[in-house]
């Protein structure tokens, strides 16, 4: 892992890298670098794109994108036994203008993850062929996974406001 760290620092300029004791490598980077960094790591044998996630740091007004990569064991034989760690790449983007370049050209299976994040956080992925809704069918004013979306209030306002059949009937007969 130390070796990989040196290589990465030599190749990229704007990285801060920490290595944790359980073979996790944490890379903080800018959103512009992500695609080339992923490409580089993919060529280094980290071929398994495990997760694309997002954290809403509402206090700072930022979204943090998390890309997690790991290696398929047999593919990564060129590394020593202890080198099969997990790489966590973090990039922050502004919350108001949430735009980032899609990585599906590098990792094919990022496609549903990006669709989901687009739906749940309202992040726009540039270059994604189908940013159609994946899970949800209803439209929400605020994408539901953002921190300022209050689920309980939403439930009260939508499902709670619908009267039961008896109530509706009584109302109808009254008017």
């Amino acid at each position: 892992m130390e070796e990989l760290k040196k290589k990465l620092l030599a190749y990229f300029t704007d990285l801060t890298i920490q290595i944790h004791d359980d073979y996790r490598m944490c890379i903080n980077t800018q959103k512009e670098t992500v695609v080339s960094l992923l490409n580089y790591l993919k060529n280094m044998g980290y071929e398994h794109f495990a997760l694309l996630s997002c954290i809403d740091w509402i206090d700072k007004g930022e979204f943090e994108l998390i890309y997690i990569l790991s290696a398929y064991m047999e593919v990564c034989d060129k590394y020593q036994e202890k080198e099969q760690g997990i790489i966590i790449i973090k990039a922050r983007i502004s919350r108001d203008d949430a735009k980032v370049i899609s990585v599906i050209n590098v990792f094919e299976n990022a496609e549903p993850y990006e669709r989901e994040l687009h739906e749940m956080f309202g992040i726009k992925f540039e270059g994604h062929p189908r940013l159609t809704p994946l899970m949800l069918e209803r439209e929400y004013e605020i994408p539901p996974f953002r921190k300022d979306f209050d689920t309980l209030k939403y439930v009260d306002n939508t499902f709670g406001k619908i009267p039961s059949i008896e109530e509706r009937k009584a109302n109808y007969e009254r008017t």
Partner: protein, 366 residues
Amino acid sequence: MRELELFFGPQHLGMVGNFSITLKVEGDRILKADANPGFLHRGFEKLMENRTWMQNFPLVCRINVVEPDHMELIYSMAVEKLAGIEVPERGKFIRSIYCEMARVGSHLFGLWAYANMLGFDTVAHWAMYHRDLLLDLFEELTGARVYHIYLRPGGVRRDFPDGFTDRLVETLHKIGGKVPDYNATFFENSIFKKRAEGIGTVTREEAIRMGAVGHTIKATGMKYDIRKIEPYDAYDQVDFDIPVRTGGDAYSRLLTIRDDMIESVHMIFKLIDKMPKSGEVYTKTPNPFKWTIPEGEAYVRCESSRGELGLYIVSNGGEKPYRVHFNTPSYNHGLTVLEKALVGESVSDVGNIMISLYVVAPEIDR
């Protein structure tokens, strides 16, 4: 021949779970498949942000209905890692035995689903009956049939009851004694071979490209198993084999499942032999209502019966998680691999391929 649009699911007998695929077919051939999940979306990850660390357990296990135990395991592992809790030795062994039991049960459920899909009622009924025998053991151990909530951060809820391991071994022998029958009627059945061989083939390159895990990649000959790569619990103390096949088609996947199940049973026997005879089974944790966990993040993974299961969790030092994100194996399999594997196949094989990829809908939707 004209193109037809065919909706496979959500209400469909061949569908396991509430999932829908929109197929564009020409005659019997599939031109394009569009997975359409979300029928089971509950927004778990959002709900978990509103509940305390311990309150999340009932939610977590409902993510995968077929096999809730690995979900509990991964969440416990993540909390342990964030809070820095160690599991006692006997607790580790009990956890591993429990998870392997869950794996066998889950594979039997998968067998039911596959056999049922092909109209193989007899084998389907047998598999479900055998799974029920295991559920009885789970009930004795935890008090519930399906959602056990047996694991907790720092170990397990309670020790094995007296004579539990004997009953477990007896039940497993009973199920194992039926394996020749299963082989003769199901796995070696000539018509079944014809149905499953060469269907939904995923080559190794494709599997790697699409991020496949679990037996989808094991069926292409790669020994990719988190239990070996990153051993957790007691898995580094027993030796076991990872069954692989080289075909990459539905039949190889199914044989991998069968071998994995048999391997699990053997592993349970080994674990029982090696288990410390007495000792603590859990580490004490603070009062769950006031429990705060220090700031930090963790990515943990384990091998569920469907493949690599990951959990990314972030704590901001409060009583509740700040963000959780599950990386479930069905997500890749159901949305990326399935769409590619279906193209060019026959309509009658849709369920066949889907179940051989072991897609469980609630895992996708969460």
